[in-house]
């Protein structure tokens, strides 16, 4: 069982690999925060303050070449923020700043032992989603459409169920530490939309093919032991989820962008032994069923350079190897389903 330290190290590696989506979200936060600040400044500024702002906005190239005060007088003053809405805009601004102050913690969630994975992810995304809530609050306030009853809680939590298409595209990546015994990823399906990236750092024994249940035509799904492979998640087009699993779990990757059928699912490793013990509330049947699900998908779509797949298999690659592996896999499925004799 990986130690706490090991788990933290893996989470830290995951954070590194998810640099790009993380930077994208952070950049959005900074820009939104700055725009809001300038809006608040513009609403209350004196002519001198506006000129100072203009000087800053024009930058060093303008020094000596542009009369800042004059230039400032021609800039749009911007629509004044109604006095009644100013506190709301201030609150939105504070929300954005507080998210920025969280730094990388914004992208981490830890599921306590026995906790609910789905709820934790929802909470983590709802926390980062407050950025969207703040941006929407500002627009609603400026256009006079803000309704406290409907929009009142958006600065406290803005869960994914409220996100629009554009917000899904900007979705914050999330790294989730979870015990293997709590690894019930089925509930995460609802979060795999837009450009959402989720990485699960799994502690201790886990169902060997848990993420197989998430394989759908549009979602990148990865199970691995190697944090470097998480780049597949970071760089995926569309939603993606990856899990850093304990040794001897299934290792596979499903990449929709690689095309149809065969090429999309590559199974690198199947566990040596079939599940024998329940893990937390996850029964042996459920664990084995996920394995069968993965094997069925792989056999149905064919295997791309997958080696010798099936229990006790790591191995050859290439077309010939793949054909052999497919045969073995088919045999394994029959064995699992106890249908060998039914022929």
């Amino acid at each position: 069982m990986p130690s706490e330290k090991k788990s933290e190290e893996l989470a830290s590696r995951a954070l590194e690999v998810l640099g790009r989506p993380r930077e994208e979200f952070r950049s959005t936060l900074i820009v939104t925060s700055e725009e809001l600040r300038s809006l608040l400044d513009a609403g209350s500024a004196t002519a001198e303050a506006r000129a100072a702002r203009t000087a800053a906005e024009l930058g060093a190239f303008a020094v000596g070449h542009i009369d800042i005060e004059k230039f400032s007088s021609f800039q749009q003053k911007g629509a004044a923020v109604p006095v009644s809405e100013a506190p709301r805009l201030d609150a939105a601004s504070r929300t954005l700043r507080s998210l920025l102050e969280l730094g990388d913690d914004l992208y981490f969630v830890r599921v306590s032992s026995g906790g609910d994975l789905r709820d934790s992810v929802s909470h983590g995304l709802g926390r980062a989603g407050r950025a969207f809530g703040a941006a929407r609050t500002v627009e609603l306030a400026r256009s006079g459409k803000y309704d406290e009853e409907v929009h009142g809680g958006w600065l406290d939590s803005f869960p994914p169920s409220l996100w629009n298409r554009r917000e899904w595209e900007l979705a914050p990546p999330l790294i989730v530490e979870v015990d293997g015994a709590d690894l019930r990823p089925g509930g995460l399906m609802e979060f795999l939309d837009g450009n959402q990236k989720i990485v699960l750092v799994v502690r201790g024994p886990a169902p060997p093919a848990a993420l197989a249940r998430l394989i759908t035509p549009g979602v990148t799904v990865l199970q691995t032991e190697d944090p470097a492979e998480l780049s597949l998640v970071a760089e995926a087009e569309g939603p993606a989820i990856g899990a850093l699993m304990p040794p001897d779990s299934c290792r596979f990757v499903h990449v929709p962008a690689t095309g149809e059928g065969r090429a999309r699912l590559t199974v690198h490793h199947m566990p040596d032994e079939e599940p024998k013990r329940a893990l937390g509330g996850i029964s042996v049947f459920q664990q084995a069923d996920a394995l069968r699900h993965l094997a069925t998908l792989a056999a149905g779509w064919g295997l791309a350079a997958a080696g010798d797949v099936g229990p006790s298999g790591d191995g050859a690659s290439g077309p010939a190897g793949a054909a052999t592996a497919a045969d073995k896999l088919a045999a394994w499925i029959l064995r699992q389903a106890d249908l060998q004799e039914a022929g």
Partner: protein
């Protein structure tokens, strides 16, 4: 202040003679693909990081892979280093390392080499198995030998083969080692720079290049007897070392731009390469469109929807974009266009510098399309100009063309690290509800300015058109409407001009001659002015950053000088040429503008040699003009 001509002293230290100089120009030249540019860039970067003033210029053949050992195929770098700030590429080279004698011959024939220069040349060609090559070597060495240079033969191939199997891929670092010994460069810094240059390659590549560097250094230590001491006189702390295209790319990011739509074109493409590496970290997108026209169309579309968009191009691309640029002006959609100028009409001289797009940038659009044209004069200004351009484009709802050129684009110079200001990212676009009945072009009668309607703004729905239109964005069928809207668009330029300050004069406020320039020639012009003033010549200069609208007060400034002339990198006739008269003479493009704008008889001196202007050449022009006409 620019570095002027070198001051040299000599002393003997042990075996080697040390020439102490305030500045020195070095060239590294080879066939294409032999890495001379990497050698020169690394030497320049190390020198800048040690605290030397640096200006580098790429020497690039017009063809991608010219025949080997051809004079026209010379590829490499010129690096001018100084104790103080260096603002231009200087006049002629003091030290040249060449990987074959033909590229060296090319530099000699272009008068690029100083009379007492030290030339180091690969000598494998002297004993080459091909008789023709041996004959070429002999002929070239005779020609070069007659010029009085000090020529040192270097067994580059032979030495490099002790480390690598293919010496062609090793000579550049060997040459760098020689330069490091000659100029006493910091070897740890050099190793770091090499590691950075090869950071995307396997570690063993870096290791091999380090070995070649050491080999070159050791060879020089063993065999050379002259070193050059150009002391670092600047603080290297908090400086950035980059070229103008990189500076423009970083400037775009700093300015909060969100989309760069472009189509590859030399010498502009590397702006998008730089953006491709960093833009996504700030939420930006680089869109490589299917052609130049699509690129500007995408940028206009993004800007119309409320994004901050720009496009990058060079002269031929600017020509293709003209109709869309007119749309930006007509529909009053903010847009920044960076034109990295290159030489010639058609596809011209893709890798060479010129300033020949000025009139095209100003007047190339169909119909009346008043807009802003500005020109950064230094690599540092390439960064800051992007921030100003964005602000002007948005404030005046118009097109801003930022004109750089191949000299700025590929030249490398250190400059102070900008202190980033979040205000550069700009204010939020005003998307508050639009009062009922307010038209999308609600022009202020006095200024022509109007609020920008961004799609999605409550109450802002309207039909956008590129046709002449009234305030409601309805197509203009009544004759007076086009008159009115043209007036409003033109008025904005007058308003912007009213915010500009008269340009500062470099040197005395009055005198015999005023030299006027724009863009990348600033450093060379000011160095020439310094030299002439040191001789007692009454000359000053001024450098324009805004070409449209033109900076104010020019006529008054010009009136204080007996003669005014522009110095530019574009073509003009000279009066002593056959058939050329005052009446039919084609003048430099800025001269043309200034004459029209001020009614002053502005003269010009221009060259289109495919290289930056040399301060010595401008100095000669100043002297001859003051002696024959400036004082007249």
């Amino acid at each position: 202040m620019a570095e002027d001509t070198a001051v040299k002293t000599r002393e003997q230290t042990g075996r080697a003679q040390v020439i102490r100089s305030t500045q020195c120009t070095v060239e590294v030249v080879s066939d294409s693909g032999e890495g001379a540019q990497k050698c020169g860039q690394t030497f320049g970067a190390v020198s800048a990081k040690m605290g030397n003033g640096v200006w580098t210029v790429e020497i690039i053949p017009a063809e991608i892979q010219p025949p080997p050992r051809s004079p026209a195929g010379a590829s490499g770098n010129r690096i001018r280093i100084g104790e103080r700030v260096v603002t231009n590429w200087g006049d002629r080279t003091n030290v040249c390392i060449a990987f074959n004698e033909q590229v060296l011959l090319a530099r000699h024939r272009l008068d690029a080499i100083e009379d007492d220069a030290i030339l180091l040349v690969e000598n494998m060609w002297a004993t080459h198995s091909d008789e023709d090559i041996r004959a070429e070597w002999t002929a070239a060495m005779e020609e070069l030998g007659g010029a009085g240079y000090r020529i040192i033969e270097v067994p580059m191939e032979q030495e490099c083969l002790t480390v690598v199997d293919n010496a062609r891929k090793g000579k550049n670092m060997f040459a760098l080692g020689i330069l490091c010994w000659m100029f006493d460069r910091d070897m740890d810094l050099t190793r770091e720079q090499i590691a950075h240059a090869f950071r995307k390659k396997a570690a063993e590549i870096t290791e091999r290049n380090h070995q070649l560097l050491e080999l070159g250094y050791a060879w020089a230590d063993e065999n050379l007897d002259v070193r050059i001491d150009v002391r670092p006189g600047l603080s290297a702390e908090n400086t950035l070392v980059m070229n103008g295209n990189q500076a423009a790319a970083f400037g775009a990011v700093a300015a909060g731009m969100e989309m760069a739509a472009m189509y590859p074109i030399t010498p502009a493409t590397s702006v998008s390469h730089q953006l491709g590496e960093i833009f996504y970290k700030f939420g930006g997108i680089v869109h490589q469109a299917e052609d130049e026209i699509a690129a500007v169309g995408v940028a206009i579309g993004a800007s119309y929807s409320g994004k901050v968009a720009f496009t990058i191009t060079s002269g031929p691309g600017l020509a293709l974009k003209t109709e869309f640029l007119g749309l930006s002006v007509m529909a009053e959609i903010p847009l920044v266009v960076v034109d990295v100028q290159r030489g010639g009409p058609s596809t011209g001289l893709p890798t060479k510098v010129e300033q020949s797009d000025l009139l095209a940038a100003l007047f190339g659009q169909p119909g009346d399309a008043p807009h802003v044209v500005m020109a950064p004069a230094t690599i540092e200004e390439c960064f800051h100009a992007m921030i100003t351009a964005r602000r002007i484009a948005e404030t005046f709802r118009t097109l801003v063309v930022v004109m750089t050129d191949a000299n700025l684009a590929t030249g490398v110079q250190p400059f102070p690290r900008p202190t980033l200001d979040p205000a550069w990212q700009g204010s939020a676009p005003d998307m508050s509800a639009i009062p009922e009945g307010k038209p999308p072009y609600d022009w202020d009668e006095a200024t022509g300015l109007s609020r920008r309607f961004i799609p999605g703004t409550p109450g802002g729905m309207h039909t956008l058109t590129g046709l002449a239109h009234d305030g409601n964005s309805r197509v203009a069928y009544a004759s007076a409407i086009n008159q009115k809207s043209s007036e409003m668009r033109s008025r904005k330029m007058a308003v912007l001009q009213s915010t500009l300050r008269p340009p500062e004069v470099y040197g005395a406020e009055s005198g015999d001659l005023l030299v006027v320039g724009w863009g990348s020639t600033k450093g060379a012009i000011e160095e020439a002015v310094d030299r002439a003033r040191a001789e007692g010549v009454s000359v000053s200069s001024l450098h324009l950053r805004f070409l449209s609208p033109m900076e104010p007060g020019l006529k008054a400034i010009f009136s204080r000088f007996k003669k005014v002339m522009t110095v530019e990198i574009n073509y003009s006739d000279e009066l002593d040429m056959p058939y050329i008269t005052e009446e039919n003479r084609r003048r430099g493009q800025l001269a043309w503008l200034l004459r029209a704008q001020t009614l002053v008889d502005v003269d010009c001196w221009t060259r289109v040699l495919g290289e930056p202007l040399r301060p010595g050449a401008i100095h000669d022009v100043i002297r001859s003009n003051v002696s024959k006409g400036g004082a007249a």
